[in-house]
């Protein structure tokens, strides 16, 4: 079956090195990579693609309570896939079968988690305020004074803090523990509060999604960007030689739990995981070089070589690299080290699954407002589309 040929861009003069030159610019000659190409203008997001991202980001779906995003996902993909089901944990599993699908057709898994970090209400104080716990690795230092939405009805509240001018000096600098914080929804008794929200219900930040110049700003870009990308991959009018299994997973932020059972159920030949990774790329506070940025905005999709949970399959890393090089797409390697994605659970399922993660870089993850570059997102979509279109079992051969 004829494959859509991958374009080889004509060589153009090397563009002047930017202040934060991409790692690729230092690639050695023996590596035989083509000359650094100027950025190919990435396909822009259509208005409807941006609207979908907006809807996804503004929905609140804290780990274990992903319904709001699940509904959006199901609506968006239902007409574009051959099968879709929701499993026992709430994962959405969709299949786009190849033309001549059989038992022997290889299965490819592409996963993106639907859940975000947030809060769970744990009790009612007599004064009407709510005790809460964190769900997932929320940045604790960003909590005080933030507006939140709690419960299935998205009730506005605020995380209470003592006013600055009333605090003694030593209390001003002390770190407030979550157990000392309260959410105030504007009622003044526990009975009144219980009429509005129940223990166990979730809460999230209120940030509204917005496009700000070249950037995307919103809460939960980690990982609604991954969900939006996966939806676009399912809607793409491509036909593959494999069965594409798309998984919108649950409970990634609390331990990769949804992904673990998805990988067991699908038992794929290989897997790609789409997520969002921190970009700590602002200058260091001292004058030293920032050597621990993890990833950087504007340098394209971040391919994982190794994180805390997984060492990526080297053939898949090379495959993504070659795909991007051939199409003139920018990309970067996420720094090895801590952190993890659903891939940590997927690659250890059953007899093992060759897996790689690709993320959109984002500043300030697990906080009320994240920032990413539209271009990085579009290039991630483009890279994944090409990677799927060109995939054959040869990719995995040693």
């Amino acid at each position: 079956m004829a494959k859509k040929p991958v374009r080889k861009a004509a060589p153009k003069p090397r563009r002047p090195a930017a202040r934060l030159a991409p790692q690729r610019a230092k690639a050695p000659a023996r590596d035989q990579r083509p000359q650094l190409q100027p950025l190919v203008r990435p396909p822009k997001a259509t208005a409807s693609e941006m609207d979908l991202l907006r809807e996804l980001c503004n929905a609140i779906a804290v780990s274990g309570d992903e319904g709001a995003v699940r509904r959006i996902v199901l609506d968006a993909i239902r007409d574009h896939v051959d099968e879709v089901r929701v499993d026992a944990l709430g994962n959405v599993l969709a299949v786009k079968r190849s033309k001549r699908s059989s038992q022997r057709t290889p299965r490819l898994l592409v996963a993106a988690h639907m859940d975000e970090v947030g809060f769970m209400l744990t009790g009612h104080e007599s004064d009407g305020s709510l005790r809460f716990e964190l769900v997932g690795g929320v940045e604790e230092r960003t909590l005080l004074g933030k507006p939140v939405l709690v419960g299935p009805k998205r009730l506005p509240g605020v995380i209470g803090a003592a006013p600055v001018h009333l605090l003694k000096d030593d209390r001003r600098n002390a770190v407030t523990k979550v157990s000392q914080m309260r959410i105030d929804i504007g009622v003044d008794s526990a009975d009144a509060a219980k009429r509005w929200v129940k223990m166990g219900e979730r809460g999230g930040f209120t940030t509204e999604f917005a496009v700000v110049g070249p950037s995307l700003r919103g809460k939960a870009l980690d990982n609604r960007l991954g969900c939006a990308t996966l939806i676009e991959l399912l809607r793409a009018p491509a036909v593959y030689d494999f069965d594409l299994h798309a998984a919108f997973t649950v409970q990634e932020e609390v331990g990769l739990r949804g992904a673990r059972v998805v990988a067991y159920a699908v038992d794929p030949a290989c897997a790609f995981v789409l997520d969002c990774t921190p970009a700590r790329d602002l200058p260091s506070s001292d004058d030293r070089e920032n050597t621990q940025y993890n990833s950087r905005l504007g340098l394209g999709p971040a391919i994982y070589i190794s994180d805390k949970g997984m060492i990526s399959n080297d053939r898949l890393v090379r495959y993504l690299q070659q795909t991007a090089d051939a199409a003139g797409l920018p990309y970067q390697f996420r720094q090895p080290g801590g952190g993890g994605t659903d891939a940590g659970a997927i690659h250890l399922a059953r007899e093992g699954v060759p897996t790689v993660s690709v993320s959109v870089p984002g500043r300030y993850p697990h906080s009320p407002v994240m920032l990413a570059r539209t271009e990085d997102w579009r290039n991630t979509v483009k890279l994944m589309r090409l990677a799927l279109e060109n995939w054959t079992p040869q990719v995995l051969k040693r």
Binding site: S306, S312, D314, G352
Partner: protein
């Protein structure tokens, strides 16, 4: 066996990048087992098929991977910052040499001006110098993995090398495979991947093999160095039979089997409890529905340093013990 061991310990193979060791082992064991295969994560599995109805399916595991470092950033003057692959101690890094997959060698240096120069540096205070003279000729890039780099040395009965953990285990499995004249059992010799980063290969290999019992062959510490741990294991004390470690309580049936076979064959052994550290056996024990698992350990000094020391007589005792177990029936 020493030439084999020398080849193995000096080979390149940090976790995730075991290809060169795998090729080496494959060449060493060609035509001996009934078949050799590789699973999705890269575990090398050599199988000797079952000979008797009462035979068991035995999974043996020794890991091919070694600890190492991975480049995380190349700065303006081509010094490479790095992350650890597995349990790397900064103490052992300063002044050590590392080698990358293509043979590039580097030395690890330390930031002279750091927060507290009297304390042991953190990994983030260290860097690799590959001798690049300018930005444009740096032979390494972000993501490149390196292992430590030292040749093996012989000191009478004692051998020192980097990655005795667990190439000595791999050597023991190879020697056992070579010397195994007959066995009633189906034996899968697994040369596993990614043990040092979380016993990852052994878990998935165990799922695929679905064995009746599992025995890992890995190194353990000793208590016989000056002001050392209070640990009963010593170099020259024989093959260590694991009772427990931080990841596993060895199945008493396996432990007792090993003790019994050792007594019958008059093989020198010692019992081992390791307070911190674990092996592939812990992953085998909880694979699928679980399986009885144990471990034969090689006492080793200076673990996770570039100069790990074993006593060759202990290594031979491990081979003999494994043969004694495999050549007779196993009733558990």
């Amino acid at each position: 066996m020493k030439p084999l061991l020398k080849k193995l310990v000096e080979a390149y193979g940090p976790s995730g990048y075991e290809g060169q060791v795998r090729d080496l082992i494959r060449a060493e064991i060609r035509n001996i087992p009934d078949y050799i295969t590789m699973d999705p994560l890269g575990n090398l599995i050599a199988v000797v098929k079952k000979k008797a109805k009462s035979g068991k399916k035995v999974m043996l595991s020794a890991h091919m991977d070694e600890i190492g470092v991975m480049v995380s950033h190349i700065d303006e003057r081509s010094y490479a910052r790095f992350q650890n692959i597995g349990g790397v101690f900064p103490l052992h890094c300063v002044g050590s040499r590392v080698r990358f997959a293509d043979g590039t060698v580097g030395v690890i240096g330390v930031d002279e001006k750091r927060d507290d120069a009297t304390k042991i540096p953190a990994l983030s205070d260290l860097f690799i110098d590959v001798g690049a003279t300018s930005k444009d000729d740096c032979p390494v890039k972000v993501g490149d993995a390196a292992g430590f780099y030292r040749p093996m040395e012989e000191l009478g009965h004692r051998l020192i090398a980097k990655s005795m953990d667990d190439r000595v285990g791999a050597a023991i499995l190879i020697e056992t495979l070579r010397a195994l004249k007959s066995t009633p059992h189906e034996v899968a010799f697994v040369f596993s991947v990614q043990e040092e980063v979380g016993l990852r290969g052994a878990g998935t290999a165990a799922f695929g093999l679905d064995a009746d019992l599992g025995i890992a062959v890995d190194v353990t510490r000793t208590g016989d160095t000056p002001n050392g741990l209070k640990m009963a294991v010593e170099l020259g004390g024989g093959a260590a039979i694991k009772v427990r470690d931080s990841g596993m309580i060895a199945d008493p049936r396996i432990k007792d089997l090993l003790v019994q076979r050792a007594q019958e064959a008059r093989i020198k052994t010692q019992l081992e409890i390791l307070e911190r550290g674990s092996t592939d056996a812990a992953a085998m024990q909880i694979a699928r529905g679980g399986l009885p698992a144990g471990c034969i350990s090689i006492p080793t000094r200076y673990l996770h340093s570039p100069s790990e020391m074993v006593d060759f007589r202990d290594v031979q005792a491990c081979v003999n013990l494994l043969l004694a177990v495999l050549q007779r029936p196993i009733e558990i």
